[in-house]
Symmetry: C2
Subunit: 451 residues, 2 copies
């Protein structure tokens, strides 16, 4: 199906270009033209389904670079608790009872929430076996995503099996919408030798299943809390020199395919290493605040030229999958803490949530901006809303005032997956019912302690 969206304000994210009364022309999965409405309507008179975007703003689909999608099933299960108690007494025990089907349902629920909020690409990490992963849910929902199996020193063999299967079955599948990553959990749960082995494995899998333009990437939690060096010391009896990122560099595992989630407790030395190696960051301000981890020095990293993208983290530490909330929180938080209202300007934050996200996933040759030749991943936001009135500056409104519920229509890979807030790929009511039932069964299994 070909589409011609016209009459809206197009925020291209290509060198700051904004087109008032603009149009985007889509053939199959690709953007073939972008310009003024009048010109585009004349140039493409027929053969395109026309979408009137008057009063609306068209943006590249938002890119959420850190998720554990299946964990939506645990949204609100436990809050306001000390971190270790939260993990050890609440999250880990119940996660141990999650089935392959629970993972599918949870990931579907997050996919639905994401699309409803204008997010078109998710980078997710969870526990997979050869038979269970989140890729199928994303593929079924029409979403774009990077899915990765999380690795721990204590289950190397299972990890390798799951990773190999995942790469073989899913990398660059579903019309190229799904990619795969290799996800060491964190520097304190993956020993130095295993970390190096996983680097070898990533390179190997990439040579086998990846392409130059569609690489398998790394996705790792790094420096989420300030005690990470201490944890590494205790776990592996090694003495990291400098910060955690410098430690990873000493293992030779950092490169431009490495996306580090959180980076709350990074040092100046770490930031220099990240810049040198081309490491990308996923900043998760809401989760970092809610879990009391602290605040990542994002303005410093940006100043040094590090690519910083945005993520929600899991719906059980956020407790939403809402990138509009993350944009606003990121924009205001660093102003307040740096006592400087000029940092994290709206245009920069919108870039982090779109093109920056694409760069962080090494996917920017195909997504992240509204640009001829790129894949058609778009969100159309209805600006005829009291909270978006009056309009002085669309970019300011997108970051500071727009809400996920204002997203009206979403196109991913040229396919209209949501039209006027109705999903075309899935039945929302059915998924909510499935999730509620899965929760009930999960609590029952936990209570009876059966797997």
């Amino acid at each position: 199906m070909n589409h011609l969206i016209y009459g809206g304000t197009i925020i291209t994210m290509q060198n700051g270009k904004i087109i008032k009364d603009g149009a985007v022309v889509i053939e199959n999965d690709v953007i073939v033209d972008v310009g003024k409405s009048r010109e585009m309507l004349r140039k493409y008179p027929r053969g395109y389904e026309r979408l009137d975007a008057k009063g609306k703003v068209v943006i590249p689909g938002l890119i959420n670079t850190h998720q554990h999608a299946a964990m939506s099933l645990l949204r609100g299960y436990a809050d306001d608790l000390p971190l270790q108690e939260w993990l050890e007494k609440w999250i880990w025990p119940i996660e141990g009872h999650m089935t392959a089907n629970d993972i599918y349902i949870g990931a579907l629920l997050t996919a639905v929430e994401s699309i409803l909020g204008g997010t078109t690409t998710l980078n997710t990490m969870y526990h997979y076996t050869p038979n269970e992963n989140e890729a199928k849910a994303f593929a079924d929902a029409g979403l774009r995503g990077v899915v990765g199996h999380v690795c721990f020193s204590w289950r190397k063999k299972e990890d390798i099996n799951a990773l190999e299967d995942l790469a073989k079955s899913w990398h660059n599948r579903a019309d190229g919408r799904i990619r795969v990553s290799v996800d060491p959990h964190a520097p304190y749960t993956v020993d130095p030798e295993y970390m190096k082995e996983l680097k070898e494995l990533r390179v190997e899998l990439n040579e086998k299943y990846g392409l130059e333009k569609a690489p398998l990437i790394w996705h790792v939690h790094v420096a989420e809390t300030s005690d990470e060096k201490e944890k590494i010391r205790k776990a592996f009896n090694v003495e990291p020199k400098g910060g955690v990122m410098e430690y990873l560099d000493s293992l030779g595992v950092l490169d431009e395919h490495f996306i580090a989630a959180h980076c709350v407790a990074v040092t100046e030395g770490d930031i220099a290493v990240m810049k040198r190696r081309g490491v990308k960051v996923s900043h998760n301000p809401i989760s970092n605040l809610k879990l009391a981890s602290g605040v990542s020095p994002v303005p410093k990293m940006l100043e040094q030229g590090v690519t910083v993208s945005l993520g929600t983290d899991s719906p059980c530490s956020n407790n939403a999958a809402d990138m509009f909330e993350v944009m606003k929180t990121a924009a205001i938080l660093h102003k307040g803490l740096n006592k400087n209202p000029t940092v994290m300007a709206a245009s920069q934050v919108l870039d982090m949530a779109t093109l920056g996200g694409a760069k962080a996933l090494c996917w920017n040759s195909e997504i992240g901006s509204i640009e001829v030749g790129k894949k058609a991943d778009l969100a159309i936001v209805n600006f005829v809303k009291p909270h978006l009135c009056p309009i002085y500056n669309e970019v300011s409104h997108l970051v500071y005032a727009a809400k996920s519920a204002d997203v009206e229509t979403v196109i991913i890979n040229g396919r209209m997956v949501m039209e006027n807030r109705r999903l075309t790929t899935l039945k929302i009511e059915k998924i909510m019912e499935m999730a509620e039932k899965a929760k009930t069964r999960l609590l029952e299994r936990l209570k009876r302690n059966v797997k």
Copy 2:
């Protein structure tokens, strides 16, 4: 009109009481019964319009304790700028061109946005003359509110006129929905003598127009930024001892009718004074972050037993009037900065946005909880949403996951002002059109520099 809402989860905010499959019975403007649905449906078989709240959560209407409602007309007009430049080059010049009609339109727009987001009471402060204020807009919208004229040393005479007119015309009017306050702008713009005079005036106006149960209160910006003592020193050549609140106490102006907005830069001594005098706080985390003012030590104030409520501040420093956003930001911000996930638990934050707000406005004998004898100010929130699924804990969802767009029906003073997201009091489209036109005229007047 009498109403019987049944089948929902009632979050009463009365000593933490939550009623599953509960009902609220309303006669005219008052809550006359609260209980289990089955019992209430039997007890009140006819004469009540019944509202099925299955799958929904019923909460007391949210109370926004710091606003400048008319400033919605400047939403997104200027962002990401240094504070002084923002004020002096952008906000003040354009505000100088706002007409009485602009103030009315801006306040209407904020009223609409507030109701759509489940806020039933606003505490607002703006520049009024005897012919212009925000009270009429609130009255027309069906909103409840406290409106106050902001006072400065440089316009004492106009202030007194505006205040007297406001109290006479509006205090306890519109079926008791509108109350009036006396609003010295801040300790650095109102000299010590004038501050004392305004205290006398508040007492006088209260004796004349107030009632014991409906007092005129104070509403003042206090310690919004850390340089406030320096500003006082420069402006009035006085040397404040201790913190800014201690300085105000030395003038004898603090009492339990005093609501202090912001309190970012308060000292331990200030907090002790606030506790001793019964001063209430309006915490505005989003505005404080966005304007780079800093973060108020809310957990410390709560620990000391100070009443802390929540506010959005103006839609031009937020840039929304969304109390759900404020609740979530308040809940996560203090956890992150105090490195303690147990502070600002969801139940406490919801209390701050409801009963705490009512206490802060000295209005808790009538509003803030769902309680027999109180005014019927309610919001019904639709929980059948993917981002509120599954449900473990409604209070957690209200603070961490629910959004203003989930509010479906709003009742204020027993009147259904919104039903299934349709306002019954105003035409949203017309108000948006008025606001857009007002903006255009305002920019034109600014450009030509005509008033």
